[in-house]
Each structure stands twice: as C-alpha cells, then as structure tokens.
C-alpha cells in the first residue's frame, strides 16, 4: 500500500476516536502503526543522501569526510560511531556528540564556514530538503543500528560532560521557572496526552535518545537530537541553545549515559 495512504488511514483511526476513548488506546494504536512504519522508514532516503555526502569530495578543501573525518572509530569509520558518542576528541579538545563532530569535520577538514552551517541547521516544515548535516547524521546513525549504547562514561572528560548535563537539566529559570526536570524528572508524567520520559532513569533516557535522528510525520521532516534539544528549550520558555554547542552535547551525554547498555535501533520515526 502507498505509504501516505497507510499514514492517513492510521492517523484517521487514531484521531477520529471519541475524545473519551482513552489516551492509552490512541497511544497503543499509534505505537503499533509506528512499528509497522519502521519496516519501511522514510529515514532510509536520508541515510542514502547522507552516504553520498559522506563519500563525496566537498568544500573549499575538496576532500571527503570518508577520507578525513574521525568520529572516534578511525578516519572514515562510521560503524558504531553513533552509539559510542558523545566522546572526547583530542584534536578538538572537546567532548562532542556526533552532529557536533561532523560539523567540526566539515569546518576543519573540508573548509566549510561554521556560520553557513549554523544558519539553517534543521529542516523546517516547509522545506523540501533536509540540510546536508541532517543527512550526514542520519547516515552515521544508521551505522549503529541494533548496537548497544556505549558512551565512554569512564573517560573523565565525558563524565564531566554527563554530570554538567545532569546539572543543566535541573536548572530552573525563565518566566515559568521551568527546568528540563519539570517535565522529565519523574515517572508517569504527561503534558496533555504526550507521555514524558523520566530522563534520570535508564528506561526514560532510552526513550529520550531512541528514534533520533527521526523522520517526523508531522510536516514530513527529518530531525536530529540537536533539533530535539532546541525545541525542548523553546517549550521551556528559555532562550535558544547555540547550534552544535557544548551545552547541547552535555545534555545528549546525560541522556546517552543513562541509556548506556541498551539497544539503539537506528534512525527512527516520530509522530
């Protein structure tokens, strides 16, 4: 069946139920549908584009990432890189998540300007195409499909990023006094119908990192963990975290560290 018809049918089923017909049923319906969709996840299209970009000679220095970029597993090696990040990169003297690391490679190795990448790092609802960086992240993430999260938390610098991220998640400020933990610090909470993972637990943290990068059916866009963090702060009524900054890496490290040892299923699909 045509994918968009499947989508439309499932959404109609999920949303045409009487309002009183329980949140749980709607969520279960959606989860079932999402599991079916994952069999033929549109994220694969972005993976393919990302692979082309990874292997192509690009940028002012006309070099490919495949022959210049070390994601922590050796130059050009993609397998397992996503589940073993954030990690410390000595050449950059920084702990980086995968997206931040690829941006670093694009600027340092290929000669792209950071400002040009950061100008529009996420796919908007009206954009036909995802930015190159999103495709690249999706490709790299696909190289960790069905591997366990194994962020090197024993590394003191990674541990610092994790602990700083944990403290950031507890920081309350802004007009509504919100922190990340206001919504994500306890079990069994919801905003409206949306279930909120408790990021301090292994199960909750896994839900925080699983399925990213993900194809979002609302708007039909491909989005990364960097985007997810950005949009959380929007809803938290905070100012914006700078793209590919240490702040975002720390939060991703906090979640990934708590999810360590559990299976990553690869690029996912989101509501």
């Amino acid at each position: 069946m045509n994918r968009s018809i499947v989508l439309a049918t499932a959404l109609t089923v999920a949303w045409s139920m009487p309002v009183a017909a329980q949140t749980k049923d709607a969520n279960a319906e959606f989860e079932k549908f999402r599991a079916e969709m994952e069999e033929s996840n549109p994220a694969e299209l972005f993976e393919l584009k990302g692979e082309e970009l990874w292997k192509a000679k690009r940028g002012p220095k006309n070099i490919s990432l495949a022959e210049s970029c070390d994601l922590g597993q050796g130059v050009g090696k993609v397998e397992g890189a996503y589940v073993r990040a954030p990690r410390y990169f000595a050449d950059a003297d920084a702990v980086m998540d995968i997206e931040r690391r690829i941006v670093w490679c694009m600027t340092e190795k290929q000669g792209f300007k950071f400002e040009d990448i950061a100008k529009k790092p996420f796919q908007g609802a009206n954009d036909n195409n995802a930015p190159d960086i999103t495709n690249l992240v999706t490709y790299v993430a696909s190289g960790s499909k069905n591997m366990k999260f194994d962020m090197p938390l024993h590394d003191a610098k990674v541990r610092d990023a994790f602990e700083t991220g944990k403290a950031m998640a507890a920081y309350r400020a802004g007009p509504y006094d919100f922190s990340c933990n206001t919504c994500h610090g306890a079990d069994g909470k919801r905003i409206r119908m949306q279930n909120l993972p408790n990021l301090s637990t292994p199960e909750g943290a896994l839900r925080g990192v699983l399925g990213w990068p993900g194809y979002r059916m609302t708007g039909g866009v491909m989005l990364t963990s960097q985007w997810r963090m950005n949009d959380c702060f929007r809803q938290q009524r905070f100012p914006e975290p700078k793209y590919a900054s240490q702040a975002v890496t720390n939060l991703i490290a906090y979640m990934t560290g708590n999810a360590n040892g559990q299976m990553y299923k690869g690029p996912g699909i989101k509501r």
């Binding site: 541990r159 006094d177 905003i191 409206r192 240490q246 702040a247």
Partner: protein, 209 residues
C-alpha cells in the same frame, strides 16, 4: 594499630582506584552546578521574545536550584513570604469571573516561547499539566487533578482569595512548586485569573458538577 592503618589506607587506595576505573564524578555537585551555569551563560542566545536575560535565576529559582528544590525550611518560609507580598489582589474585592471564559484560558498553552508573538495574550496552560473539566480528556499529569476542586473545598471568600493567590504566585505557598507564577510573571492579568478562579470554584462550573 599499624595493621589497621595499613588496611584502611589499602582500602582507601582500592577505593580511589575503583573510582578511577568506574569513572565516577570527579567533582562536587556544587562544582557541576557552577559548570552548568557557566555553560548555559556561554552557549545560549536571545531568540524572538525569549531574551538572554531569562537565563538569570531570580532569588526563588536560585534557592530551589541550590537545594535541589528542597531549601532549608527557614529560607523557604522567608522567600515564600516575600512571594506572597507580590500578590496583587483585585481592587474590587471580587474573585469570581466567568467560568466559560476560564475554560478557554485553561485550554490555551500559548505564550512566552520564542515562536509566540510577544503581543499575543498568553494562555493559562492549565490542561497541559492538570485534569480540570470533565469534558476534556486530553490533560496532563504533571500537576494534581483539579476535577471537583470547588466541590471539595467550598466557595468561601477565603478559598476564593487563596485560589486567586495560588494562580497569581504558586511559590507563595510552596516555594519550589513546579507551577509557574502566572500573575507574577505577567502571563495572566487580573481578569483572566478571576475567570480561572470561577472555573475552579463556581458551583455552576463543570469542574464542580
């Protein structure tokens, strides 16, 4: 005695070694809090109406941040008292507005994000976190259910004043409450809060049916 000391230092060495291997946190919680704050101040920027200045915690937020939302009772009481003093009660002494308007305000989750227009009125965000009326099944659970709020508490002038004040500044009653200070923050004005008080307390409101 010598053996005892040797055992202790040996155990300490093992502990240090283990800590090194396990890669536990190498700094205190206070140090990480400071590093978190430094990172936030360096890595965030103004976007739309969400100005950089929002990152600075006020004295209530600071106390809650420094004590994991559980400040010493004396400090909490002092700061909560100061918050209560910020509550501007209605000049006309009336607290009950129109519950139907209150329901609309309770439904709206708009306001204060960088994608909201600063000139648009903010919503009450009530259903985001609370069950309120019986006809809305899409409600959050971050806060307690408010269904039957007035039925169980009555509609006395004291209860009206308390409910108004609680919405105006929740921190006056529980310093590190997760609930925003809607009046204090300038999110909801006097009229809007009165409508919400009516939604919760008016015997005619569906909340109390």
């Amino acid at each position: 005695m010598k053996n005892y000391i040797a055992t202790i230092s040996g155990a300490a060495a093992v502990a240090v070694l283990l800590a090194g291997c396990a890669g536990g946190p190498s700094r205190s919680e206070a140090e990480y809090r400071q590093m978190a704050l430094d990172t936030i101040k360096r890595d965030f920027q103004t976007k739309g109406q969400a100005k950089y200045e929002r990152l600075t915690a006020d004295e209530v937020q600071q106390a809650c941040n420094a004590h994991a939302n559980n400040p010493p009772p004396e400090l909490a009481a002092k700061l909560a008292g100061a918050q209560l003093a910020t509550v501007k009660l209605p000049a006309d002494g009336k607290y009950l507005g129109d519950w139907k308007e209150g329901e609309k305000i309770a439904q709206s989750g708009r306001g204060f994000t960088w994608s909201d227009k600063a000139t648009d009125p903010a919503g009450g965000n009530c259903y985001n976190c609370h069950q309120v009326g019986p006809n809305e099944s899409s409600f959050g659970t971050v806060g307690p259910s408010l269904l039957g709020y007035g039925k169980t508490r009555g509609n006395s002038p004291e209860m009206q004043k308390y409910t108004y004040s609680k919405i105006y500044n929740a921190k006056a009653f529980n310093l590190c409450s997760e609930m925003p200070r809607f009046g204090h923050a300038g999110a909801l004005n006097e009229t809007q809060i009165k409508h919400l008080v009516a939604l919760l307390l008016d015997p005619a409101s569906p909340v109390n049916k």
